[in-house]
Symmetry: C3
Amino acid sequence: MFEARLTQGALLKRLLDSVKELVTDANFDCSETGISLQAMDNSHVALVSLSLRAEGFNPYRCDRGFSLGVNLNSLNKIMKCAGNEDVITLKADDSSADSLCLLFENSSNERVSEYELKLMDIDQEHLSIPETDYDATVMMPSAEFQRICRDLMVVSESVTIDVSKDEIKFTAEGELGTGNVKLKPTSTIDKPEESITIELGQTVSLQFSLKYLSNFTRGTPLSDQVMLCLSDNMPLLVEYKMDIGYIRYYLAPKVGDE
Amino acid sequence: MFEARLTQGALLKRLLDSVKELVTDANFDCSETGISLQAMDNSHVALVSLSLRAEGFNPYRCDRGFSLGVNLNSLNKIMKCAGNEDVITLKADDSSADSLCLLFENSSNERVSEYELKLMDIDQEHLSIPETDYDATVMMPSAEFQRICRDLMVVSESVTIDVSKDEIKFTAEGELGTGNVKLKPTSTIDKPEESITIELGQTVSLQFSLKYLSNFTRGTPLSDQVMLCLSDNMPLLVEYKMDIGYIRYYLAPKVGDE
Amino acid sequence: MFEARLTQGALLKRLLDSVKELVTDANFDCSETGISLQAMDNSHVALVSLSLRAEGFNPYRCDRGFSLGVNLNSLNKIMKCAGNEDVITLKADDSSADSLCLLFENSSNERVSEYELKLMDIDQEHLSIPETDYDATVMMPSAEFQRICRDLMVVSESVTIDVSKDEIKFTAEGELGTGNVKLKPTSTIDKPEESITIELGQTVSLQFSLKYLSNFTRGTPLSDQVMLCLSDNMPLLVEYKMDIGYIRYYLAPKVGDE
């Protein structure tokens, strides 16, 4: 028996929204400690990893580990039927679960919606992601990162990210010309959600696909801040942290002069 | 001579909007007592009936009954040229009316707009709709009904409506799974626009096309509340009541297991 | 060396927006006194003339006159990357300028964006527009003019503008019927932005393409008021005046009964 009730249902809606463009089908792995999802994107270039702690739900109940294979597009359609103020409860039988039950309750009026989503068998190898000490770790407003990705797509399909001790620089070069955006670390303590911080082991300069980065920024509504972790020859990690867990995107840098 | 002046012009704009998707051409029947329109939808499945009382206009003048054949799409285009604060006056000569005159006046500035819409001859049998004692009559917030129709379309093209004494339930079943929404009668007297009431002779369970119901919910801006009247083997009646009259939609239930 | 810094960067964004639908490529002519642009629209029917005074910028520096050939579509894309609160600086080397540098600075955070737009050689004859004494000069709210153009497009592709001492009338005639909007001069001194004034030498009645007029109304966000200047057999002048300069559109009247 699996049951997880989330008072802030809107969070689940946003989470789904931040994954569904990248991944079509995926397993939600449920265990005593929480719910997680890990999947390569459809073109096997990026990796998404999602984790929600059991403590974030009330109640949370999962007797033993099992997997719920879900078509994320269908799940997202159903999630859109939940109001932003709704309490959402997920339910499944662990043994013979062939459907996921979603319950949307709105305290303000007497409405209760209940959806049953058919489950599917999904073969998925679980990639272990090694913990890494990154050369550069940048924290910045997530909306700012989103905007930079969107703006530079005007110029090119790729962006080069340069991180030094006192600046992070995004550069794009294309047919109509070039563009770059430079950010400096802030010292504003009064608005932590607008702060920009750089932790640097050594400077990095890496190039990434803007299409993927833009896709990752669908996580923007989940958190005021985004964390970018970069190391030479390592996949970039883009993380949005929530009270209840996190979503992480990984993307390998572009190589050569392509 | 026909003349009808409506201070709240926005109401006419919304009315047009609630009809134009269902019906292309229709007669506005003008008489001493008011204006009415009755038409089958283009695929002859649903019926729309609109009635505006003479007392709702100021002044209202119509010497003897006659019909104005109108292309609703064209009329709607012209109506969009009226500001939401405009006073709207409709005018026509009763005898040789080959056009409908629409006057839009905005008190705040010195603008007067005047449109002449060409009329057309429309053959239309007038269906008499018998007054019916329905098995179940439900009053509920119109926005809630709109939302339920929109949500359940995710799951299926049909919805089953079950009404019992203490619950109205909307159920849809499709390829991705099932969905249902249950509403209970409310007891809130302080917010009548949010109340849900059920008057029941006997329980009903009927299935309808969601495409049509969704179309009917274009009447939502006309009224805070919608009335659903159901009886076995009878067309569903969906009514939006306004100070000045009403719009009613009729839809036959689906039969069998289609 | 050319450099022009504008505190209200949003103004440049709106200016671009008001030109880019009409003209694809154009020269920005920079001189000691300011920046100007003059171009026929792509189908050689309308003329756009833009002028920005040096005093509107701070600082403004331009040692000697020269031209920057720009693809307005590309420039507009880059302009969209400027925030509405950004300070915008334009820079170019006068001698060998093969690119225009755009600098977007946001005071509230530490972001600086820098774009380089490739320039192009554009052959452009400079038309001298003779100063004219117009028969009729109308000042009216720009939003009102925009709305009239949009509304009457429902009826026809052409509009006839009639100006007399005490009224300006816009008339359109088409298949679905006719429409006209009449405006009277206002006497409200307290809201100058809503005032309508008519200066008349002699009455005029001229017909114009609504498609072009609608296009001109993209200048609406630049100014509360628009000026229409009409004379028989002369191009209509539509002007939006800003603190920093103006944008003028010219359009020849339609002839005959076309």
